[in-house]
């Protein structure tokens, strides 16, 4: 079937693909690099041929199917649940309610933030879509049909929906399950120096305050969440196939929760159809499939549908932020304050390092020098689905970057200064690194001015401003928006960072087989990031074995070393470092063996990619393949060297890595309708050493598309009763190829000084960096109408409201 694509309605559509300004195909290094370089993804053939293996593809003998009955209301006491009619339906094997889970101590389980969440509601339901009962049946149709036969009597309670009133005296108390709760307050957190910040503000010529809302959005991965649990009653072993970004962490938590000993649990995370943070937490459905398998003695599959995914699994953002900025009249930045009201939903299920209850919001000072900074976050419960850190946000860096980048533009308007110039004037300088950002984080490296100027050249900044002036004189609305972001990724140093007490380090194991082929086993789990390609390239770079000769194993706890998984752009910074280190360990061992083979001393050998040779005599050398065979052969090995070419390490990162970038967005707005078209978008990223530029471009293109979604259309809205108004793709809009321009990319390279190969994470840069560039561009376009601020999403109606002078917050 061909698909009709109408080029007339496709913005900026002259090019077939994105355009990387730096990429000159003829100047490319070898077509199949042994190490870093452009290389097609090793995992693609199975995906493009439909041979992927996702959780829903798993079919086990005798497998039953589960379905969850969910609460239709946001807040209610459960008076009674009658399951008898459902149980009597042919094909139904069991119906579980919270009462059945209580004796197993599984009605409630810990969240990743030291709160508890209900698996099946026992006392009350606390958000629309909350899990109330679980039907297990012979097939998925019977399971779904039986849901309609369960009778639940709810005693409706007033809900807390407007987060701005969650802490009001007399607000309904959501978490009366917790001892002594008298309000909906979760936590207060702050960073920086409030006294010094007050002083900086006191001497400023210009002080500005602006509310900036990052509304609730959803990662909406293509594959929804699900699991297949297979509990063997004889051996006591549990195998769990699950949509998990962190299989090892999930195994440990499941062991702690279920009482099944950890060595009897195998978690397999097969191919994953996108995660974006949505698949970090442990969902009630996973637990229910396990309980279902224990209860029935059969494997039980649970796979949620699209509406369940949108309504009940981890949302993202939901930060109402107030920014205050202080500067001199010639544009020197002095101080910044951020104060945030955070909606965490009904259970505090945020996935983030324990000591960071507001994630890495500490990055809100951005890429600039300030005399002082101060940030504080108050989190509260509401009658909405739990979650909070998800959707490629690098642990709230998205919110932090959005705040500072909007504030900088706001200040530029006030000072009547070019926003690029204002940024250039205040950047942290290369010689100031490592740089203490005054909010507790130490940036590792950066050449901000260089990257910014490079981006301005690539986009033709001065020309664009001229074009804009001409258009404005004709009454047309054209905007140029900038965002310059610094992320902190790669959580993280064990002494500072853990999740539920598990330090955020990652293991790697490398084996070189006798024939010189290799297998590397990693603890992180790809959801599309191309680990099977890039991690093979790291090994290749370090030891000279071609990437196609290296198998990357991941996603199965029985096959891989312990580690905390893939989210927050941590795979390359942590696990990638582990892979480089384990390869170096093997290379060092190979040196000892090569020395024995060449009858010389190890220190007389020199390494070139793929072989050890005798210093001063390059012809006398041994390739890594020859050494591998010798290691497993009959040769007498040096003292203390055992007969293999294997190694393992666990890598504890000394610091986060700090990728950054300069993003430029050009928009046109239809004056009569308020419709925004993103005409051009340029992303110049600096993620340090570039392992595979094609994969980087892919990650960036995807993240930019996310950014267009958030900036222009995505929003999980609730009505005053707490009904979720974004429960399907008819109402929760995500962008298509038609809403995005032909992406333009470019780069600079500033390696991380502490990472073994100098790489920084790239997985979330574009999602973090693009929304402020787009919104700043929309505001810039609306400047002739007197607009200085508006919140996402910039839908036609909301833009038009802003044009009429009444921009409203989305929540």
């Amino acid at each position: 079937m061909t698909i009709v694509d109408d080029p007339q309605t496709r913005p900026g559509g002259d090019y077939e693909h994105g355009r990387d300004h730096e990429h000159n195909p003829s100047a490319d290094a070898p077509e199949r690099p042994i190490g870093f370089g452009r290389l097609q993804r090793k995992e693609d053939p199975r995906f493009v041929r439909g041979q992927g293996n996702y959780t829903d593809d798993v079919v086990l003998p005798g497998m039953l199917h589960g379905a969850i009955l969910r609460s239709p209301v946001a807040h209610a006491r459960i008076v009674s649940i009658d399951t008898s009619e459902a149980l009597a339906r042919p094909g139904v094997r069991a119906v579980l309610t919270g009462k059945d889970l209580e004796p197993l101590k599984l009605a409630w389980i810990p969240t990743l933030s030291y709160d508890v969440q209900a698996v099946l509601a026992t006392d009350k339901v606390r958000f629309q879509g909350q899990e109330v009962a679980f039907v297990i049946a012979d097939d998925r149709y019977a399971a779904r049909d039986a849901l309609e036969l369960i009778r639940v009597d709810y005693d409706i309670l007033p809900p807390v929906i407007d987060v701005r009133h969650a802490l009001d005296a007399g607000a309904p108390i959501i978490r009366d399950d917790l001892e002594g709760r008298t309000n909906n307050h979760i936590a207060d957190w702050d960073c920086g120096d409030s006294v010094a910040t007050d002083a900086a503000f006191a001497k400023a010529d210009v002080v500005l305050k602006q509310e900036i809302v990052y509304p609730r959005v959803h990662p909406a991965p293509m594959e929804t969440c699900g699991s297949v649990a297979d509990f063997n009653r004889v051996s006591g072993e549990l195998t769990l196939y699950v949509t998990s970004q962190a299989p090892h962490a999930h195994r440990t938590v499941i062991a702690m929760v279920s009482g099944i000993p950890e060595h009897k649990i195998r978690v397999i995370s097969p191919d994953i159809g996108g995660g974006f943070g949505n698949k970090v937490g442990i969902y009630p459905g996973y637990v229910l499939s396990i309980v279902g398998s224990i209860v029935t003695g059969h494997p039980v599959k649970w796979m949620e549908d699209r509406s369940e995914n949108l309504m009940s699994t981890s949302f993202a953002r939901d930060y109402i932020m107030t920014g205050e900025i202080a500067a001199t009249k010639d544009g020197k930045l002095l101080g910044i304050r951020a104060s945030v009201l955070a909606d965490h939903g009904a259970f505090n299920g945020v996935a983030q390092p324990t000591k960071f209850p507001a994630g890495f919001f500490n990055l809100f000072p951005g890429s600039y020098t300030w005399e002082a900074v101060y940030g504080k976050v108050t989190s509260v419960y509401t009658n909405k689905a739990p979650g909070g850190v998800a959707y490629a946000c690098s642990f709230r860096v998205t919110e932090a970057v959005y705040l500072v980048e909007r504030m900088i533009d706001r200040l530029a308007i006030e000072l009547n200064m070019d926003p690029a110039e204002l940024r250039l004037k205040n950047f942290i300088k290369p010689e100031q690194f490592p740089y203490d950002n005054k909010a507790g984080f130490e940036y590792d490296s950066g050449q901000y001015e260089k990257t910014m100027r490079h981006a301005m050249d690539l986009i033709g900044y001065d020309e664009l401003r001229k074009e804009q002036a001409e258009k404005r004189s004709r009454g047309e609305l054209m905007g140029i928006g900038i965002s310059f972001f610094t992320e902190g990724v790669g959580a993280g140093p064990r002494k500072h960072m853990d999740i539920l007490g598990l330090g955020m380090a990652d293991g790697a194991e490398l084996r070189i087989h006798p024939t010189g082929k290799a297998v590397v086993r990693i603890s992180v789990q790809s959801q599309g990031q191309a680990h099977e390609t890039t991690f093979a390239q790291i090994v290749a770079e370090e030891i000279g074995i071609p990437p196609e000769d290296i198998e990357v194993v991941h996603g199965d706890t029985d096959q891989t070393p312990f580690g905390l998984g893939t989210y927050g752009s941590r795979s390359t910074p942590v696990s990638g470092a582990a892979v480089a280190m384990v390869t170096r360990k093997v290379r060092d061992k190979a040196r000892l063996i090569a020395a024995a083979m060449l009858e010389t001393r190890p220190e007389d050998l020199e390494w070139e990619k793929g072989r050890w040779f005798v210093k001063g005599d390059p012809s006398a050398g041994k390739t890594i393949q020859e050494i591998a065979l010798a290691a497993h052969g009959t040769m007498e090995l040096p003292e203390g060297v055992d007969g293999n070419l294997d190694a393992e390490v666990t890598y504890d990162p000394p610091n986060l890595t700090y990728p950054y970038g300069a993003y430029f967005c050009v928009t046109d707005i239809d004056r009569g309708t308020g419709k925004v078209t993103v005409r051009r978008f340029l992303a110049v990223d600096d993620c340090g050493t570039r392992i595979n530029p094609m994969v980087i471009e892919g990650q960036v293109h995807g993240g930019l598309t996310d950014g267009v979604g958030m900036a222009l259309m995505e929003l999980i809205e609730f009505d005053s009763d707490g009904n979720n108004l974004g429960g399907s793709f008819m109402d929760y809009l995500i962008p298509t190829a038609m809403e995005v321009p032909d992406w333009e990319t470019g780069f600079t390279v500033t390696p991380s000084p502490h990472h073994p190969i100098g790489a920084k994470g790239i997985g979330e840069s574009a999602t973090v960096g693009s929304p402020p560039a787009i919104v700043n561009s929309v505001i810039d376009a609306l400047r002739p109408l007197g607009v200085t601020a508006m919140d996402m999403p910039c839908t036609p109606a909301r833009v038009w409201d802003a044009m009429q002078g009444h921009a409203t917050p989305p929540i």
């Binding site: 698909i3 009709v4 309605t9 549908d305 309708t673 008819m730 298509t736 809403e739 839908t795």
Partner: protein
């Protein structure tokens, strides 16, 4: 996966067979054409037919045929066929304009004109198009065919003149000389239903005055044509001021609801703005000044 409630399924072999099946199974039977309105509602269990009568084998309902001064379109004609038809583009560019913005290619490959009209969703683009073009609908029942105009066809949101045991078989459009038409829609994203949309058709008299004008709007609480706005232009030579007045009157005539797509005020504004745009375009097209 969202799963509909249980239902039975039958495949009609002819128009009369479909009518017989519908008569046999009664009000709880639904015709399925492209399925792009019916199936989503069944999956959400908002529609729960006992029987689904599939008319996709009735290929004799899939045609675009010129017949004298009429263009006859079979009810099973897919959106995509309409979008790609050069004849439709030259005679009724409003149809092509609308088909460009109906849903997405996947929906357009299957969805039909008959299903669109029978669904009668207030945001259905082809309903407005057919209203503006003064289309006639041919409805087939046990007693044979009857032909009615769109005002009679549309009974309100999700309600039409087609009885439970009847089939819409054909839509007829009258070809007029010196005329043209246009449609424009504002959506939040490609594939989204209209925030608001407007369509217009104009026919010139020999002397350059407007012999006839039709204006219709989508998703703003008005099913029929906007008579007050049409009256401003009819019999006059087109002028910017008359177009502006027609837009203003349309904005006044509509009765939209506020929702996630926009406020009442915004939708009224769009009705005004889009009406002016489609009038300008339809006039320019009829004058041969614009494609």
């Amino acid at each position: 996966m969202q799963i509909p409630a249980p239902f039975d399924y039958a495949r009609a072999t002819s128009v009369d067979d479909a009518v017989a099946l519908l008569t046999r199974y009664g009000e709880d039977a639904h015709v399925i054409a492209g399925g792009h309105s019916l199936l989503p509602m069944m999956k959400l269990r908002l529609a729960r037919p006992d029987w689904v009568i599939d008319i996709n084998d009735l290929h004799d309902l899939d045609y675009i045929r010129r017949d004298g001064d009429q263009l006859r379109i079979g009810a099973l004609t897919r959106h995509r066929t309409l979008l790609e038809s050069a004849e439709v583009l030259s005679l009724f560019p409003i149809v092509t304009d609308a088909e460009r913005v109906v849903a997405d290619p996947i929906v357009r490959n299957r969805g039909t004109i008959g299903g669109s009209l029978c669904q009668a969703d207030p945001a259905e683009d082809l309903s407005t198009v057919c209203t503006v073009l003064g289309a006639e609908a041919v409805i087939h029942g046990a007693a044979g065919d009857r032909t009615i105009g769109m005002e009679e066809f549309h009974r309100g949101p999700y309600e039409t003149a087609v009885a439970f045991n009847e089939l819409l078989t054909e839509v007829r459009l009258t070809i007029r000389p010196r005329s043209s038409s246009a449609y424009e829609k504002v959506e939040r994203r490609v594939g989204d239903w209209a925030v608001a949309a407007a369509g217009a058709a104009v026919t010139f008299a020999d002397d350059g005055t407007l012999d006839d004008v039709a204006i219709g709007v989508t998703a703003v609480g008005l099913v029929n044509r906007v008579a007050s706005a049409e009256a401003v232009l009819r019999g006059e030579k087109p002028s910017e001021s008359a177009i502006a007045e027609a837009g203003r009157l349309t904005g006044e005539a509509v009765d939209p609801d506020a929702d996630q797509r926009g406020s009442v005020e915004y939708k009224r504004h769009l009705a005004n703005e889009l009406t002016q745009r489609v009038l300008r375009r339809a006039i320019a097209r009829a004058q041969g000044l614009e494609a």
